[in-house]
Each structure stands twice: as structure tokens, then as C-alpha cells.
């Protein structure tokens, strides 16, 4: 069953069309990597899933609920989709544990104690228990991103969106974040990941979507994508990104 289904999604910024009839589906428990050159619309596409980026045509269904329908309670829908950003976007004025608890208390209505207990469990999982009382500004980029993943997981999401989760990190911190994501994928989380980490894609993804100029150019099983991408554009992209 498709957890996320995009049907002919199109989006314009004024006269510029940034998404062109994008259709794709992510099944429950599936990990889909979205890649492509910068400016190809990857981030915009992934943000249409939780309605952070509005679109003018087509529709996105999450667990059967339409994102484009004005009657949909987007706030409630967003609470069920975890999102991890390129620049972490932790709340700098809150301690690590409060960052993870905020949504649990204010959106899910959990008690503070219940939320804190859950936050501590998630911190243990991402290996940051001893940093619970610290503030985001006191952590490294990799640590911040792991907290951001914990914050998203605390909402018990149906699916997780990752928007270039490692591109703002120093190289030595990339793996600690990818490890957490890999484990998450193994546990069966439905994931949509915008990334240039082709190693991660080839190890963890089930499918790879390749975008160029606002279009989905390829949507292949991982094995096919890395062995024989059909489009010339994807071949060029792969050769550039893999040989250095």
C-alpha cells in the first residue's frame, strides 16, 4: 500500500515552473532516495508531502489523505510526518530534551513527564543521553542532526522526510547521522530521503528517484539505477558524483 503517493504534482513560482507533473509513490516500509543536480526541485518535491511547499496542480496523498484538499487538517497531517532539515533547525533557546518534548506536549498532548521519558529513550537511541540538558549551540553539527531525528521520531510518525540531512555536515560527522538513518530504515520506517550520499542510497534505499529541471526523470529499483540508468542525464550525474 502506498504511504505517500504523488499524482502529477506541478508547482510554479510566478512564471517559472519548478515541478513538472511529478508522480511517484512510496510504499509502507520503503526507503526512496531522491537525487539530482542542485536546483532540480528535489527539496521542493519532498516539502510538498507535508504541505510546507504548496503546489498548484496535482495532488499528494499521505496514508490516503489529500494534502492538496483545502478541507484537510494540514496541522494534524504534519504531526504524523517527521521531517529532518539540512540545517537541523533545532530550537536554539531550548535544551536538547525540551526540543524533543515540545511537539509531544503541545501537539500530541502528552504529559511533561511522559514526554521527557520518551525523549530520553530516543536520545539513548541516537547515542546522546549525556547531552540532554545541553543547548543546540553546544553540540556539533552531527549531534544536532541526530537530535533533530529524535525530535521527529518522538511524534511516532507514519513516514520520515529527510531534506539533504548530511549536506551541511563536516565529512567526519556524516556517518554518525547516516548510521542512525540506516538503523531506522532497517526497522521498517517509511523514508523519503533527498541526498547526494550515493553510498547510503546503494546500501539502504529500495528505490532511487532522479530529478532534473523539475521533472522526475528516473524512478528505478536501486539495482537498476546504479547499474543501468536509462537517461543520459542520470548517467552524467552519476559519473560526476561517483568518480571523485
Amino acid at each position: 500500500m502506498a504511504m505517500i503517493e504523488m499524482k502529477d504534482v506541478s508547482k510554479w513560482y510566478g512564471p517559472v515552473q519548478v515541478l513538472k507533473d511529478c508522480s511517484a509513490a512510496v510504499n509502507k516500509g520503503e526507503v526512496v532516495v531522491v537525487c539530482g543536480p542542485s536546483g532540480s526541485g528535489k527539496s521542493t518535491l519532498i516539502k510538498t508531502v507535508n504541505g510546507l511547499e504548496p503546489f498548484q496542480r496535482g495532488d499528494v496523498l499521505v496514508n490516503g489523505i489529500s494534502v492538496g484538499d483545502p478541507k484537510t487538517n494540514l496541522t494534524r497531517l504534519r504531526a504524523q510526518i517527521g521531517m529532518v532539515f539540512q540545517h537541523f533547525e533545532l530550537f536554539p533557546h531550548m535544551s536538547v530534551v525540551d526540543n524533543i518534548s515540545l511537539g509531544q506536549v503541545r501537539v500530541l498532548g502528552r504529559s511533561r513527564d511522559e514526554a521527557t521519558a520518551r525523549s530520553m529513550k530516543l536520545l539513548e537511541r541516537v547515542g546522546l543521553t549525556q547531552h540532554a540538558a545541553k543547548y543546540p549551540g553546544q553540540l556539533s553539527g552531527g549531534q544536532q542532526q541526530r537530535v533533530a531525528i529524535a525530535r521527529a521520531l518522538a511524534m511516532d510518525p507514519l513516514a520520515m522526510l529527510f531534506d539533504e540531512p548530511t549536506s551541511a555536515l563536516d565529512p567526519e560527522m556524516i556517518n554518525e547521522v547516516l548510521d542512525v538513518m540506516t538503523e531506522l530504515a532497517r526497522e521498517g520506517m517509511t523514508m523519503m530521503v533527498v541526498t547526494h550520499e550515493m553510498g547510503f542510497a546503494s546500501r539502504v534505499a529500495h528505490r532511487v528517484i532522479f530529478m532534473d529541471q523539475g521533472q522526475i526523470v528516473e524512478d528505478d529499483k536501486k539495482e537498476d539505477f546504479f547499474r543501468t540508468p536509462r537517461s543520459e542525464r542520470a548517467q552524467q550525474f552519476l559519473s560526476k558524483i561517483l568518480h571523485h
Binding site: N50, L52, T75, R76, R78, A79, Q80, I81, M83, F85, H87, E89, L90, F91, P92, H93, L102, G103, R106, V107, K134, Y135, P136, G137, Q138, L139, R151, A152, M155
Partner: protein, 251 residues
């Protein structure tokens, strides 16, 4: 210049019946404090609301907020004071206007309202700058978590934005104290008016205005020290200063 210095003037009885000239000054200081602090409360509450409104995605609300700021900051405070005191009651139904003019302490209420609204436009401008200095991603992160827009402002955006704009807000706080002197033009006997009345009764102009000057300075230094203390108290561990970004002050 021949001038009879007399620093003992403050202990002499004043003909205004309040006691000594020092008592006159203290009464004036009381009105200055009451006016400035009440106006500051109004300015903070309205200013933050209007500042927030100007950064929301709702277009008509934004326009309303913009209009508010442009009206109140582009007309001289003195003119606004006259408008509220002399013109506004005439625009109301006759009975309400008369009631308003005969209200005891009507000059005080008018001064508080006028100064509060005027300063709210400036606070709104600072608040807007503070919110806009935050990365767009912060708003997205709050929304993506499932927070409503008001919750995102309350828990994510405002706590950071207000920390960032604390230095310019300190200046606005000082301004509201200094600007309260304009209220003497509508008959409020606050600190400056008290100094002037001492001068008129006793001709000790230098002593009277030296005292007023020192009191204003002392008052403002207390505010500066208080705001510094507050800034340190709410400083966030791991960030340099209260915020990383410096917003443009709204002038």
C-alpha cells in the same frame, strides 16, 4: 551673567501647596513614572502583536500592521498628543466627548494612550525585524512538527526574536521615559513640567533643570542596568550574545 545660585531651594516651601519644591519634583517624577510605565506596557503588548501580524502569511493582516506602524511613527509625537487631547473628543458623540474632557486626570490617560500607541509602532518594527532575522527554517521546523501557526510564534519564533531585539527594545524603553515629557503640553505636570514650575515660582532655573536632568539620567541608567541584567539572564548557552544575527533597527 549674574545669577544667585541657591541649591537650598529644594527645601523651601513651594507656593503650589504640595510642600517643598523637592516634593514638587517628586510628584512630577511620580507622574513621569506612571505615564512612562503604563505607556510601555501598552507599547509592548500592542507592538509585539502588530510585529507578529506583519510577518504572518495573511495578507490583509500584514497590510493592517503596516498601516498601523506607518501612521503612528510618521506623525510627530507632539501632534499626536494634540490630536488625541483636543481633536479626538470632538469626533465622538457630544456626550461622550464631554465626559472624556471632564474625566479627572484626562491629561494622564490621554498621554498614556498616545505615548503607548506611538511607541507600539516602534516596538512593532523591532519585533518584525527580530522575527525576520531568524532563519526561515525555524518557522518550517515548527510547522512541520505539527504546531499551529500561533504555537510556532509562541514557542519557536518569539522567544528567539525578542532575545535578539532586546538591545533596541532597551532604547525604546528609554525613549518612552524621555518622550513622556511631551505630555506637559496637554497639562500633565510630570517631571519636566515640575521643573518648569519651580523655575517660574522661584526663578532658580539652573537648579530646577539640573535636578530634572539628573533624575532623568538616573532613571534611565536604572533601566539600562535592569535590561542588561535581563539580557544576561535569558542568554542562551552556546550562542554568542543573545542572538547570532543582528537585525536592522527600524527607523
Amino acid at each position: 551673567m549674574k545669577y544667585n545660585w541657591n541649591w537650598g531651594i529644594f527645601w523651601q516651601l513651594s507656593p503650589d501647596g504640595r510642600g517643598t519644591y523637592l516634593d514638587t519634583l517628586i510628584a512630577g517624577l511620580g507622574w513621569t513614572l506612571a505615564t512612562a510605565l503604563s505607556a510601555w506596557v501598552i507599547a509592548l503588548i500592542l507592538g509585539i502583536i502588530v510585529g507578529v501580524v506583519r510577518t504572518t502569511p495573511v495578507r490583509w493582516l500584514r497590510l493592517l500592521g503596516d498601516a498601523w506602524v506607518e501612521v503612528f511613527r510618521n506623525v510627530p509625537l507632539l501632534v499626536q498628543m494634540f490630536l488625541w487631547f483636543f481633536v479626538f473628543p470632538e469626533l465622538l458623540p457630544a456626550s461622550v466627548g464631554v465626559w472624556l474632557k471632564q474625566l479627572p486626570r484626562s491629561a494622564f490617560y490621554t498621554a498614556v494612550l498616545c505615548l503607548g500607541l506611538y511607541t507600539s509602532a516602534r516596538v512593532a518594527e523591532q519585533t518584525r525585524a527580530g522575527i525576520q532575522s531568524l532563519a526561515r527554517g525555524q518557522r518550517m521546523a515548527g510547522i512541520a512538527l505539527g504546531l499551529t501557526l500561533p504555537q510556532t510564534y509562541r514557542f519557536v519564533l518569539l522567544p528567539m526574536a525578542l532575545r535578539i531585539v532586546m538591545p533596541p527594545l532597551t532604547s525604546e524603553f528609554l525613549n518612552v521615559i524621555k518622550n513622556s515629557a511631551v505630555a506637559l503640553t496637554i497639562g500633565l505636570v510630570e517631571l519636566t513640567a515640575s521643573a518648569r514650575s519651580i523655575q517660574e515660582f522661584s526663578f532658580q532655573v539652573f537648579e530646577a533643570f539640573t535636578a530634572a536632568t539628573l533624575i532623568y539620567m538616573f532613571l534611565n541608567l536604572i533601566v539600562v542596568a535592569g535590561m542588561r541584567w535581563l539580557e544576561k539572564r535569558v542568554a542562551i548557552p552556546g550562542l554568542i550574545g543573545p542572538g547570532q544575527a543582528m537585525p536592522q533597527a527600524g527607523h
